[in-house]
Amino acid sequence: MSWLDRLSLRPRRRRREVDAEVEAHLEMRVHQLTEAGMDEAAARREALRRFGNLDTARQRLYASAKRRDQRLRRASRLEAVGSDLRSGLRRLRREPAAAALSVATFALGIGLTTATFSVVDHALLRPLPFSEPQELVRLHSVASDGASFPWVSATNWLDWSEQSRTLESSAIYSVFGTATVVTTDDAFTVPAKSVSGRFFEVLRTPMVAGRPLTPDEVRDGATVAVVSEGFWRRVLNADPELAATVTISGRPTRIVGVVRAGFEFPAGTQVWLPARYQRRGGAARNNINWLTVARLAPGTDIGAARAELSVIADGIRNSDPAGIYSYGVGVFSLKEEIVGDSQQTLLLAMGCVLAVLLVSCANLAGLEFSRRSARAHETALRVALGASRWRVVQHGILEQVALAMIGGALGTTIAWWGTGALLARYPLPVPRAGTVSMDLRVLAFALGVSVAAGVIAAVLPSLAEARTMPWRALANARGAVRGGRNLPGALLVGVEIAVAVVLLIAGGLLARSFTTLVGRDLGFSAAGVVTAAVALTAPRYRDAPEAQMAYWHAAIEGLDAIPGVVATAVANPIPTGSGGRGFVAIEELPDVDAGADYRVVSHDYFDTLEISLLAGRLFGPSDGAGSERVTIISRTMAEAYWPEANPVGKRIQATSQESRLGTPWLLVVGVVEDIRQYGFANDPATAMYVLHEQVPTHLGAMTLLVRTSGEMASVIGVVRDRIRLLDGELAVDVRSLDARLGGRVASERLLTTTLGLFAALGLALAGIGVYGLLSFAVSQRTREIAVRMAIGARATDVVTMIVRNALLVVAAGLAAGLALAYGFSGLIEALLFDVSARDPFTFLAVAVTVLVAGVAAALIPALRAASRLPLDALRQG
């Protein structure tokens, strides 16, 4: 009887039962009354009276009986679930090896998935822990050509925020920043930001101690600061009174507040200082040096803010046309800005880890097929004795779910501990990586994934088990799964292989992209160069360009004297560092708005970094503080503004950067090769170099460069010592240039490594799957093989036959995987450098690898089968 039939019969049966009970009751009462002397008719009337209105009573009883049945059914179903789960646990004790394998596989897959999710959750789904994060926005400056930049100038921002009604509050903060902290025994630099008065109010940053900076303090330039909880614990010993005064960037500073851990904005900041900015009209509106964060007023949205601010920007443009970046204001959700590039990477990682989980579930499903065909006898008996097929399926699935939950608990625990340890060592270049932890959401996810994994691993084998024909199973003691070909098992393995292929192709493409990326010519030679970044924050250097210049001279001399040093220089910025970019006026092209990166360097800079000279000359001994102002420009700049002529001998002005020096005319004396200033990924921009001795206003913070033939680690140590000896109050950050470059590609390296790991895992699991499938198939066909060999088949024939069957499955999976990878190639395109997402070389390499691996995995059981003597096999069969 199908369940559909049963369903429609139920109400009828129930009603009949109720009627029968009521009838019996009435009969008994009539019987008693007639025994007592009443006549039959009167007794019947009395019985009906005592019962209550029969029709309404019957309806009510039908209803209450239905409710009763529903509740009882629900309760028994729950009980069944409970008992099935318990039986899954019993299986652990009965078959420890198989159960252990299942638990381990689940633990691995679920653990990896949960760990990845915890990172993704923090970085993508909830990157801003502040209250009402959807109200937080960032303002952009829009130039006359429509180009939008996330930076603003202080003057523009002041005007916008004063006139805006749609922004409840707004603040600016510095783009870059470190601060030097000097304690009694040490001097070190920490990431720091200068912020405007309402910064903490905009974010509603929770404090652990003290209070935020006040607008008055910022306006007056008070020597106060707010620090992070980590800083507070490390440097101030978590003093709740905040009594200590710390020397920050050369000033004794009072700490007034401590930000709660996890709420640092931008992430990683340890010290917040009052920002110093002025309102200055005209060209100063173009000094877009600040980042913004603002909160929308309640009831408004981004669209309304954008509309209002464009009107305000129009007003500014009309009253002060010199502001090129005042043409418009962009308003963007802060969350999207923060998440930005990481999104694709993280989603890719999540997709891959789920793929690996899928493959491991498929493997377990394959395992289950063979296991259950071995106990088909028992199942057949149960079905023959009346167990519903649905119960069989449910039992099978819940068994696996129980194992999956155990494995999931194990895996999540390991992931918890492991992720924390790993992130502490290798910080991820994704938002909020520092605060990743296993919270309730992640645990709920882990639970959900465990149940899903158990169901996926069990559903096909359970359905197959439920279709067991009882008589066939009872007759043939061994193996009663329908059909000898084991189509579902082959299908599973095919799917596994397809998934593994996709993972391998993705991994291979990323690996090629990464090698291409780090193989790019940078324009300079980084090997053997040590960098030492120093900020002259001590009081004696403040507003004292001669002292600053003297320091750099002494530093260069001191470093030059180190044995093994070939060349020394100082510059700001150095490659991998960030520096200013400004407008450039070209004498013979007065109508052109030129722009260039502005780089301050010493005489030997180009030699130290081995940057080639293309025309003219480098800075020489004749160039110095009192001599004619000179500049060297980059190839891109030369080609951009003097495509036909030789720029040497022409004159330019750095209008943005040298206004305080009177914007003198600079003579172009040379052209050098481009360098990739910002690392492998970026293309060179137009750039100009000036001599440090000629720009006393730009000497406050620079990086020393030392090219050495000696051993890097020891040279780094010596450099640090010499610098610290020069002036103990200054902090110095010494690293090899290669290390800085490596930092620039951290996220690409992470992605490539992770994906490579997942791909290898996927291939290994698929290989196990092929092996398992073949082993099972071979064991099923032992008799057949034995017979073949008995009538004369050679061992090689047997092996070939088995391997050929395996290859069919492998080839099908491979074809499917290649098609999938080809079809979805667009998804990974954006992450690749100079490599097509359909790179034929990678596809071919993966195809060959998978075929070889598939054959290898199939050979083992094949050879084993062929080596058995026919008689043994027949005896066993």
């Binding site: 039962e17 029968a20 009970e21 009521v22 019996a24 009751h25 009969e27 008994m28 009462r29 019987h31 008693q32 005592r50 019962f51 209550g52 009573a57 009510r60 009883l61 209450s64 009986a65 409710r67 009763r68 049945d69 509740r71 009882l72 309760a75």
Partner: protein, 116 residues
């Protein structure tokens, strides 16, 4: 006495309690329960038969009682009910609670009775 209206306003749950008590004396069918109520309360407690059966369904769904068809002495088919372990525990608890309630109400009502 036409007090059947007054008597029928059994507080909700009291019928359940009485049914459980009836069954604690031994398994019986629905008719047997109505007989027990009638006989042991000297006819004072009268419940409509259909109400009894509804109560039985309710208690069966909560697993306080369980039921199966059986044969009476008169060779009739009848559905017999029996207390489960949960039912026994519920009977003890509910009876105790009812007793306390009745005692408290009696006490309050007997205040100032001397002047009546």
């Amino acid at each position: 006495m036409k007090n059947s209206d007054k008597r029928l306003t059994l507080l909700k749950g009291t019928l359940d309690l009485l049914i459980m008590k009836a069954l604690s004396q031994g398994p019986t069918h629905g008719y047997g329960i109505t007989i027990w109520l009638d006989a042991n309360s000297s006819g004072r407690i009268v419940a409509e038969d259909s109400a009894v059966y509804q109560a039985l369904h309710r208690m069966e769904s909560r697993r306080l009682i369980e039921a199966e068809w059986g044969i009476t002495e008169n060779k009739r088919k009848a559905r017999y009910y029996r207390l489960t372990k949960q039912g026994r525990a519920a009977l003890r608890a509910d009876a105790h609670a009812w007793q306390q309630y009745a005692d408290s109400v009696s006490e309050l009502l007997s205040l100032g009775n001397a002047s009546d």
